[in-house]
Structures are given as C-alpha cells and as structure tokens.
Symmetry: none
Amino acid sequence: MATRFPATTQSSRRIPRQQRSRATVDAIVEAAAHVLATRGWAKFTTNEVALAAGASIGSLYQYFPDKLALVDSVRTRHLDAVLAALPDPDTLDLATPLAVRVDQVIDGVIAVHSINQRLHRVLLDEVPLAMRESDSVFEVEYLRRYQALVLPDTACSPGPGDVMAAKVLASAIEGAVHAAAARGELGVSEVRRELKGLVGAYLRERRVQAVER
Amino acid sequence: MATRFPATTQSSRRIPRQQRSRATVDAIVEAAAHVLATRGWAKFTTNEVALAAGASIGSLYQYFPDKLALVDSVRTRHLDAVLAALPDPDTLDLATPLAVRVDQVIDGVIAVHSINQRLHRVLLDEVPLAMRESDSVFEVEYLRRYQALVLPDTACSPGPGDVMAAKVLASAIEGAVHAAAARGELGVSEVRRELKGLVGAYLRERRVQAVER
Amino acid sequence: MATRFPATTQSSRRIPRQQRSRATVDAIVEAAAHVLATRGWAKFTTNEVALAAGASIGSLYQYFPDKLALVDSVRTRHLDAVLAALPDPDTLDLATPLAVRVDQVIDGVIAVHSINQRLHRVLLDEVPLAMRESDSVFEVEYLRRYQALVLPDTACSPGPGDVMAAKVLASAIEGAVHAAAARGELGVSEVRRELKGLVGAYLRERRVQAVER
Amino acid sequence: MATRFPATTQSSRRIPRQQRSRATVDAIVEAAAHVLATRGWAKFTTNEVALAAGASIGSLYQYFPDKLALVDSVRTRHLDAVLAALPDPDTLDLATPLAVRVDQVIDGVIAVHSINQRLHRVLLDEVPLAMRESDSVFEVEYLRRYQALVLPDTACSPGPGDVMAAKVLASAIEGAVHAAAARGELGVSEVRRELKGLVGAYLRERRVQAVER
DNA sequence: CATGAATGAGCGTTCATTCAT
DNA sequence: GATGAATGAACGCTCATTCAT
C-alpha cells in the first residue's frame, strides 16, 4: 500500500519543499520514534527529540506546531507500516482456503507487533488518549482486512452482522497479540496456534450458520 | 470475593485512626478515581485531586507517600470491583453447561467494563507502565476464572496448553470488550452475541479435540 | 554554676507548673537535641521532634511558640553544659602556675566539644544565624573564663587590651578545637600539645611585656 | 594564583556558547552570592536567585543542574578570591624575617574576610555540610600557605608535627578572625595586633625549640 | 531559515503551624 | 490540657514553547 498522506497534512506549519527540509523532518520523526520507543512517553520531550535528531528545538517547531503533531506523525508512520504487514483483501485470491487466510492474517498481525514492539506498545499504552484522535482512515482500512476474513467466500456486500463480527474479531486478535507481546511471548508457537484455533473455530462456525440460512 | 486488603497496607504514611480521617482518605481516593476518569492521566495532578476531594494537598500527603501510592489505591479498588463482577470458579457448578458458563463470563466482563468505563481505560491505557507494577495477586485470580472456562468439565489440573489457551482467551475477550467500550458500543447486543459466538466456538472445538485424544 | 534560667524565659507560652508538664517539656527538649544531633538541622522538623519525644505536635506548640524557641532551648541547655566544663575563675587559686591554668582551660574546651560533638557542630554550623541570636549572658560568662587566663596574676581590673586579648584567645582556641573536631582529631594528643603551646607562648610573652611596662 | 577552573566543569548542563548566555550565567552566580550574603542560606531559594539575577528560573536550571551546583559555583568563586588574598609561599623570599611573614599572613586573612564578610560567614556557617563537600584542592592549597609560616626557615620537608602545627595555627587564626568579623571588629587595630602577637609568640617559641633539638 | 537562550506556568512534595475534637 | 487531622504557602525543578540573533 502506498503512503496515505502526501505530507503531514494536519500540520498548520509550512510543508517542507526543499530536500534539505525534507531530510530534517525525516530525521525529526525518526528521532521521535526512537525516543518514544526507547525512553517511553514520559521521557519523550521535544528538546530530547531535537537533540536526538541533531536539529535545534527551533527547527522542530518550524515543522511541527506542537508536541501533538509530532507524535501524530510518528503514529501515522507506524500505522502505515502496520497496514503494509497485513494482507490486502484486494489482492486476495477468493479461492484461497479459509485456513490459509487465517494463517496469513494471524502471522501478519504478529509480524506487525514484531516490527517495533516497544514503539507499538508505547503508542497504544502510554500516549494519552487525547493525543490518539482515532485515525479513521487507518481504522477503515484496517477493518477492511478483517471483513475479507469474515465474509463468506462469494463476493457480496457485508451485512451489518458481518461488520460487527469483523470488529470483534479484529479487536480480539489485537488484544491477544498485544497481551502476548506484553508478556514477551510473541515468538512462542503456542500463542500462534491457539490464536489460529480461536479465529478458525469462529469462522468455521459462522460459515456453517450462513449456509444454514 | 472479599476485598484483598485488610487495610491500605502499602502506605508508609500513618494510617487514619479517627473517623474523620477515614472519611478524608475515602474522599481522596474517590476524587482520585474521578479525576483519573474524567480528566485522564495527564491532568491527574495531586493538587487537582486534593481540590476535588475537598481536602488540602497536605492532607493528601498525610495518607499517601506519593502520587504512585495514590494511583495504586485507585487501581486496587477498581481491580477488586472487577474481580467481584466475574464468576468465581470455586462456586461454579461443574454441571453447568458450557454455553451458560460462557454467557456468565462474557456478561461479567462486559459488566466490569460498564462499572467505570473511562476509569478502566485510563488505568489500562494511560497510566505509565512503571506505575502499573503488575498486580500479580489480581492477575493470578483473573486467570483462574478463565481457566475454569477452558478446562474440560472433569476436574483435573490444567496442562500447559490449557494455561496458554486461558491466556489467549482472556486477552482476546479483554481486547474485544475494551475496543467495544472505546467505540461506545458496550451496550450493543451484537457485540455480546458475536463475542459469545467467538468464545463458544473455540471452546466447543477444543472439547471435541480433547475427546479425540 | 547554677542554671542561668529559672525557666525558658523567652517563651511567650505558659511556663509549665505541674510536674507532668515539666516532664513533657524535658522530653521535648531532650528529643529536640537528639534529633538535631543525629539528623542535622535539615531534618530537624517539629513533627519529628514531637514524635521522638512521644508527645503530640499540639503539645509541643503548647510549650514552645515556634521552632525558634525550641532550638533556642536546646542551645541554651548545651551552652550551660559548656560553661560547666570550663574552670570557673571565681574558684581559681591565683597561685596556680600559668602552665597549669592553660592546661585546665584547653582540656576543658576539648572536653566541652567532646560532650556532644555532633550537637555542638550542628548548633554552630547548621542552625541559621538568624536563629542564633547571640546569647549575651553566655558570652559574657564565657569571656570571664578567658580573662582570668589573660590577666596578670595579681587581681586587678582588666584593661581594654586585656579584654581584646581574651576575645582573640577565646575565639582562636574555639576555632582550633572546632576544626579539629570537624576533622575527627579531637582525641589526638598532638592537637592538645600544639594548642597548649600556642596559648602558652602567647601568655608568657604577654606577661613579660606586662612586667617590662 | 590563577583561577582553579578553566570553566564550570562540574555542571552536567550545557555550557554557554553565546556571549548572551555567558552574561546570564555570570548574573546568576553574582545574584546567588548576593542573595546568600544578604538573606542567608534559609532564604536562598532558586526562584529568588533567578529573580535577583533578572533571569527566569528556567534559565537558571539551564546552566546549573540543581541548587547544589549553584551554591558550589558561588563557593568556588569565593575560595578563589580567598586564596588570591593570601601570600603564595612559592613567591616567598625565604630571607623574609618571620615577623614580616606573620604580618603578611594575618593581614591577608583579615583582607580575605573583608572581601565579602557576610558571604564568607554564610558559606562557612549555614550552608549544610553535605553541600560543602570539602574542596580538597582549596584546603591543600590553603594549608600550604600556613606551612610556609610554620616551617623553619631552611627549606625542608615538613615533619608530622609541622603539619599539625599548621592545622592548629590555620584554624586558630581562622577562628579569631571569623569571630572578630562576627562582632564587627575586623577593622579594629587591636585585633590585628593581638593576633599577630599570638601567632608570633608561637612561632618564635617553636623556632627556639627546633634549634634546641 | 536555523539556532539555542530564554521563558514561566505548573508540577510533586514538605513542613511549620492551627484548631476542632 | 492533649491530640493529631488539616492546612496551604512555598520549595526545587521540568519542559513545551517563543523569539532575538
């Protein structure tokens, strides 16, 4: 999937055009992600980020109106990486057996959390809710992946029950993987197995019910 | 379940003797929970809590050595309420059909999150990890509830696979309910239904597999 | 020498008459001295003193108008002990050879600092100047001891030069002993020897000069 | 003697690069010395110092990691001035008669205390011991000045008795001058005379004893 | 534009003191 | 009286943000 934004759109500051500016912005976001991942939200100070980026605090505020915008950039960048690790339903072969599709998704989600575990956790656990204004673009896209799992194999528009099933499924998987990561058990095969069992059982049962109707 | 603490043992501060001071302590913890729930962790300042409690900042520090102890008190109180809302496996009739047991647990977890949704989320999402020193007493007790669900109906000690299944199940349910709460959909019956479907399907399949072995 | 005060005269609070009150006051002053000596001025808090005295903070303020009065009581008590350790010129045999008198005084001053070294140091080094309103009664008495050293052997009223010599001598001895205590060398015999040498040389030379005049 | 520090090396804070910040740092140290001298240690608050310096509290903490570092800067600066006022034994002509050398030292010490009497007293009397981590560089240098006085005129390494004599002498002079300053008698010629008499008598007697051995 | 010195509101916390019980 | 709960001004210090250079 391509990047979802042409630039840090939410910023009221000037969008950098020159490549030197572009490099500075990148360095700052990179540094911000690093500070967030290694020091946590509490130690995530703008001055620290500027220092780590090799930029001045003034430069930072040239491109980001405030701390919120900065952390938002980090989050956006990370969510893009997350989506990229999840199989895109558009490129999905409808003939793929359900079991394989489940495997792909679970493996994908676990891969996502392995990308930058610490950053992921801090972003979700520590950054105050007020600063996590739900990124609807991301959520819609994210849900689309799960609906492809839930929907019956023939291509048809999702009913309301399907949407809810997708939501429940997505958040359940998310929760289980997140907790496993928190326990340091992301790599344990049993986690993967049980999770696949959970999702598989659910989907198989739903399919049976659909046929019965 | 009874309260897990005979008194606020963790404090190094004087424990209140007069009834006046007991009232003060209660007011402070109450206010702390309220501030945490309504303003979030970032605005959770000791002065704000004291003000909300109608006490002075000095009184607050008379009973809580620091901010950590205060938020700990709030968390402890909340976790007790959480456990109280979950069916205790010890009082569980083993003859109860699986479907009923699933219903009880899902209803219980949803009830838990309905107790004080916002507080629950802030406690889990915003309070820095360092301040959430995993309350092992709580977690053990919490897991015990889920193992009773997962275990086959005959009373036998849980195997390692069962423990992991309990963990995955617990965190999946937690995640789904948590997310539903975040979307303001806790009361929606579809959520409840799909969640029960998810858990039920998993457990039924596990039972079949157990019989086959 | 008798106690210099009938009671904590400087206090605006009621002088305790009953023996129970008297005991309370004593316990408080005792505790105050102990806290001051063991924890230093920075940790010398009224609540701490009350606790150590086994009294309530309210009782403390019943007898001492403020912290200043309390520390003043401690200082006064200590200065009395100091004076008691110094030979009283009134009981001094004028025939005593100068060398012996010097020995007595130096030994006395060193003894003074050994009484309660830590308290002495804290009282002189840490307690803010504002709280050490020079106790003139003490200083006059203190100086009288030194004048007896300095004055020629015949009893005559001290000239202005003698007063200054006494002051210089007193403060020099004080400084040397104080510094030795700070270095933990109060017990070292060399200190005593050199100090006696210093004082002795000075007095011998003054006597020669006096005779010459 | 030259300044003992090339820069405020002890600080973990950024050292000023621009001339503007150098001026700020100087103003802060200057103000700190002034506040310490005029208000005493108890009123020596970082906010007060910043205010007196015409800087913000933030600026103060930009250059000094904490209150300790600030007061350390003041002390260091003052101790440099103290040493500068004392004759350096290296530049001392060994042929200089003892009486002259005594005069130089006493005059020097009195001059030292006249530089900034109140600051000197507060620095020595009120600043908590924990914050006066004995500046050994200073003390060694200080003692060297006194040893030059005590040592016999021929250049030879000091024996252990000489070291102690130097210590006693230094602290005695210090005490006498200190007390005179406290009484506001620093400028009185009698003080100077008696002090020179005290020191001179001691040294002359020591010289005689040395010859006898 | 980049820099980094400067700002100051606001934090967590202490402790001398008061006063209802 | 004695008690100790309550008070709140004031402390040391942080950090998001501004603006002169």
